[in-house]
Each structure stands twice: as structure tokens, then as C-alpha cells.
Point group: C2
Chain length 430, copies 2
Amino acid sequence: MDKINVGLIGLGNVGSGVYKLLASRNSFFKSKIGLDIRLKKVYEKRKRILGKLSVPGKCIASSVNELISDPEIDIIVELIGGIHPAKEFIERAITNGKFVVTANKALLSQSGEELFKLAKKYNRDIYFEASVMGGVPIIKVLREGLVANKLHAIYGIINGTSNYILSKMTEEKIDFGEALHLAKKRGFSERNPALDIGGYDSAHKLSLLTLLAFGKAVKSEDIFVEGIKSISSVDIQYAKDLGYVVKLLGIAKIEQGKLQVRVHPTLLPNKHPLATVSGVFNAVFLSADLVGDMLLYGKGAGQFPAASAVISDIIDVALNIKCGSGQRLPVLPFVKATRLLRMEDVVSRYYLRFMAIDKPGVLAKISGILGKHHISIASVSQKERRYAKVVPLVILTHEARENDIRKALQEVFRFAVIKRFPIALRIEGK
Amino acid sequence: MDKINVGLIGLGNVGSGVYKLLASRNSFFKSKIGLDIRLKKVYEKRKRILGKLSVPGKCIASSVNELISDPEIDIIVELIGGIHPAKEFIERAITNGKFVVTANKALLSQSGEELFKLAKKYNRDIYFEASVMGGVPIIKVLREGLVANKLHAIYGIINGTSNYILSKMTEEKIDFGEALHLAKKRGFSERNPALDIGGYDSAHKLSLLTLLAFGKAVKSEDIFVEGIKSISSVDIQYAKDLGYVVKLLGIAKIEQGKLQVRVHPTLLPNKHPLATVSGVFNAVFLSADLVGDMLLYGKGAGQFPAASAVISDIIDVALNIKCGSGQRLPVLPFVKATRLLRMEDVVSRYYLRFMAIDKPGVLAKISGILGKHHISIASVSQKERRYAKVVPLVILTHEARENDIRKALQEVFRFAVIKRFPIALRIEGK
């Protein structure tokens, strides 16, 4: 039976899960795929973790280099995360003839194209299923299952922490700070949640989905990103009254030949398939020319869901090695012509909230300014009436250009009865 | 660039879709996967269809044999359906060294193990993504994406016609006959809908899902099957009042070391992820030890969704051929020990409806008989009160053994005030 040797860098949460599975399921994998997948060596600097997992001494490498230069190791699994030194480890692994499996979305969204080119040059592969949606094989579905399709759109709830916070704010009518505190207490948030709540983690993942779905490499820094920090429970409540839920979405779609890639809190109608995805669950809703609408839903994070994805990559790569072939399925961009739409030119419907002093003529003034900027109003609701006090005025618009919205809001804000900069949230879905 | 030649048998609905895609997307596939996928020859006896698709003369084969014996053809795509002569075509293709792609769930659920063994002997493959859930790559997800997992359960809405009929009965409060008529009118039903509404098509598909998820070959004839023909709109309405929807489910799950595989109308709580899957959409909800709960949802049928799946198989197989390897991923059973649970021993909650003359003592009598058979009652609702007339009495049970339910219903039916054989529907989900 073919034997494949794995070297594992990093025994953090996901790495420990991968270690446990490789240690315990060798014969299960043998019976399913006829390959003997062995964990030959592990590198982890924290001795405590090596002890906790009872890693045998002969499996412990004293340096990453020991793994990467071991001629018997076929696959290097990188699970330390971050840009450096993960990038250098992967580069050295590939130039040493190794295949690579990683969950490093931050790195791939920044340097994916460069690393994939290097892998191509050396006829090796970089697999990264665990980098998006945990155990849900969205990468495989896009790259292989939907290979015949031209994609129209992807909408994804791809950050569990943000979704947990927004779900709690919605269900329990608590504010952002309280919900974040809950997320931390329940272990659903990193110690530093900035990547999650800032939308950057979603952008990293969206960059990878965009590459696979639309054949275009878009670095996460070129993606428009708005996080959930400024979402108030008031807007969630008003959205609910209007039949919407607020979700942090990663959106990539082609409209009139141009690609839009953006991450922001979004109002979705209650009946939308993504509206009921709550807590730490992830989901991707996509639309493609052959298959139509499709939804994938599951646990987006956690030790074993992510380890499941890493193992499926190890097995895929092992099968490639068995048949002597790297680059079975290239991931390099296959589309050149598609251009990115600037955020200013994105057209969307909007939820707008103005905090204005309640007195005659205010609505006329605001709607006049919106009209001047080609923004047409779909509905207006004044949530309270308290004469001469500051009260919220909620307006839903028809489709409008982002830049027009920005300009109109600037202009409205100059108006004396408007007491804070207006809130604008984009609306998706029918 | 590597060139892969395809021979296509059958230009029915799906076959025509595959033809159109192979004819029009050659360069799209080239740019994505670096392979030149060519449709070399087509066999279709209906000249009208060949004309309609403008198939060039040089691509038209005068017999299936001409395709199967063509040394230049690498992949045979079988899309004629049915058992014979599809089985013989596939066997001859494999013994002639061809790789096979098919959507033939009826054949594979009956003779899959035999055909997969033959393919293994000749180091060839049979791919069959289009046989379940149309364009949703559930086969790939189970076989590759979740390869590291031990599955607990699969619940699938895997027949669009039945789901359309049940959805219409629910939404429009019409009866089965009327909903079937609608399905036919809208083109959502075969001329002979027996396979769909009888649950047999679901059983064919469930047999394949069971093989991939649980590693066990269960022929569809060994699956317990109940169709939707006897579902009345009354029960759908009562179920709704109790917070449930009625869905035709294919269920495969392991409980206490034994495998249950069954197809029947099932009550699901409104909040269950499958409850909102309506119309011709398909969905599979699964539970596995590493990834937890997962849902896949999409169009289960139609020319292009199914053709999308066929093309993804062609490309997978082409990539296998390119690297000179059949049997990249075996599909033969990998579990030997698991035993099938007899339907009589299945434990489930039940919805029971009795049509009884409304007079004192009837409930006492029925509940006495249920109690004698170890069936404990969760709730009782008498839907109407019309003294001395036949009225419905709906009982939800706690978990009970199928065989006890059957015996109890037989005994209740012997009782003079019971005017027709009681209705029993199984309940799943929390």
C-alpha cells in the first residue's frame, strides 16, 4: 500500500485536531482510500502542547527546517497562521518539492497568486479547504463541483464571530458591546477580535472565493470592507420591523461585465435563505448559470470541522502524489478581462437612518437632497414623534449609486437639524 | 495540451444539455483546467434531436458499439437511463478500457457494487454526480469533502416532483390529485410519475448516498419505501396546526451501531433546516462526527443543473486520465460490520390519525391499546366535535417501535367505532 508521509507545523487548535485524527484514523483512511497516511513529524515550540497530546519523541522535530528538508516527507501542513514566517515556510516547502496544505486565509489572500505560481513552477500544489467555512467543502464545490459553471454571485456569511454577535443583538436586543462580551465568554471570539468584527477575516476568505468562483485574484486590501462595530441595536430593530435581518456578508458578483467584491453589514429580507443562519454557523448562497441558486450551510470554525477540511486536503494531495502529478487542478486566475467595479460605482438599495430634530420641513429637506442626487425613496418611517426633539427617521431607497449616497449624506449632515452623521446600510436580496 | 475525447450515448433532456456545453465551452474549460475536452461522437437514435442540435455528421455514431470500440474515445457518457441496455453498454465500455460517466441512479442502486468491482478490475472509474441532487455536488462532498468523517445521519429531500406536490398541497390546501395535475402541467413530473411519487426514485438516490456516507452497499429493493400517494391534505393541515411540515425524506442513519435506510413522508418541525425547502428544490441535511450539521440546497433536476454535474464528472475523469490513473477514489463499500436495522425495529415518534365515532370512551379505548403496545402518548387533539359522527382524532406519540405501532393500529382497527385504517406518519427532528 502506498505510504504518504505528512509533516505538521503548528499544534494550535486546528493543528491539534489534525494531529488527533492522523493519529487515530489511519486504518479508517486506509479502508476508504487505500493509502497509508502517516504523520511523520510535528513542529511545535510549546512543549506543553506536545506533552498534552502525548506526541512520541521520534515524531517531534526540533525545527521547521527538519520537516521541510526531510526527503521522506511528502506533504507539509502549515497551521501556524499569519503572514511571516508562514510564507517563507511554504515557499521553502515547495522549492524542496513538498506539497502544501494550509488554512492560512490571511496569507493566501495577500500572496496567493505568487505562491500558486511558485507551486506551478515546481509542479506542486497548495490546498486550502480549511481556510473558508471550516468543514464545509466550499473550495472543492467551487473549484471542482461547479467547474462547468459561470458564476453570477456569491453571498457569504463567512465569519462566525460576527454572525454570533449580530444574532445575539437581534435575538436578545442587546447592544454590540454586550454581544461581543458574550462571544468572548463563550469562546467564540479571538482575544483580539479586530479581524473578525472589522470584516477583514471575511475579506480574506472572500478573496479566495472570488479567485475560485470568478477566476480573478483580488487581494483582500483591494476589497471594500465595513465591519459590524458601528451597528447599533436600534438599526437591527428598525430593520426587523421592516422585514429584514442584518448580516455581515461577503459579496462577490458580476454585474454588467464588472466584478464587485465587498464586505459589509447588509439588510436581507426575512425570507432570504441566509436570513435564518444564526450563531456561529456559516453559509454561502451562490448563483451560477447552470445550477441556478445553491446554498451550503455548516459550522464555519472549530477544531474538528477545520481539521476535517485539512484531512480532506491531505487525502486529495496524497491521491495526487500517488498518481505522480501535481497541478491536477490549477487555481491560478483563468479570467483576465473582468474588471473590478469601484465601490463608488456600486448600485444598491439602502437603509438610511437620520437623527433629526422633529419639526416641520425636515423630511422635505432630506428628500429634496436625496432627489437631487438621483436617490429615489421606497419608504419612509418616522419611528417616534417628539416635537423639537431628536428622533430617528428611517428611509429605504430604491437602487442608488454608492457615490450619490455618500454625497447626499454629506450634504444632509451639513443641515443644522441633523444631529449626527446618518447611518447607511446596504440591502441585498428580493 | 492534453486532449480528452468523449463519446455521448443519449441526447435526452440531460444529454442535450451536456452536448450544448461540450460544444460551446471548450475554451472556457481549457482556460480553467488546461485540458482540451472534445465531444468526438454521439449516439442518439432519434434523428429529429440530432437535427435540432445541429450535430455535425462526422460526430454522429451509427451504433453504440461504434463509440465503445473507438480507440480514440477515453470517456463514455451514458445518459439513456434504465437498466437495460445501459448496464451492458457500461460493462462493454469498461472492458474496452473506457472511463464512464453516468446519471443512472436506477442502475447503480441495483447493480452498482457489481459495476464498481468491474471498473476496479479494469482500473477504470464510474462517476455519477448527476444521479443525485442535480447540480449540487453531494456525491463529491460525501466522497471527498467529508472523507475524514464518520457520518451519523443523512436526511434528504431528493425528489423534486414529490416535494413540489407536497409544497403545493401545503401552500394551496389542495389535494394530492390536483397537485399532481399541476406538477404535470408545469413539466415537473414524468409522464409516468410512479417512480417519483412512489418514493422509488428517492430510494435509488438514497442507496447511492448510503454507499458513500456509510460505506455500505444497500440495494434500493432492500430500502423501506412509502410514497406520498396516500398523504391527504387533511393530515398536512393538522401537521401544520401542530407546528410540522410533511416532506418525503430519504433517511439513512446509524443508531446503536445499526444502519437504518428508509424513504417515507415525514413530519418535520417548522424550524428544521429542511422545512422551508419547497417546490422542486432538493436539499440534504447531514450530521457527521467532525463537521457537525451541514446542509446543501439547490436545484435537484433540470437540463443544465444535471449537465453541470455530468461535466464536472467528465473533467474529474479527464484529470484522472491525464495523470494515468483510474481508481483515484474507490467507491466500493469500506465498511463490513454495519448491519441493517429491520424496519420493524425502527424507533420513531409518530403522528397518528384515527377516524372514530365521537362518543364517550373512544379515547380511553385507543390509548389503552397504545399503552398495551408500549406506545406512550405525547399529545392528543380531537379536531372536531360532532356527537355520534366520525371525527378525526390526532395523536402524537413519544418514541415507539415500528412493529408496536403496526400491531397497535391493527388492534385499534378491529374496534367497531374506528371507521378506516388509521394513518401513521413518522416524525423526525427536534
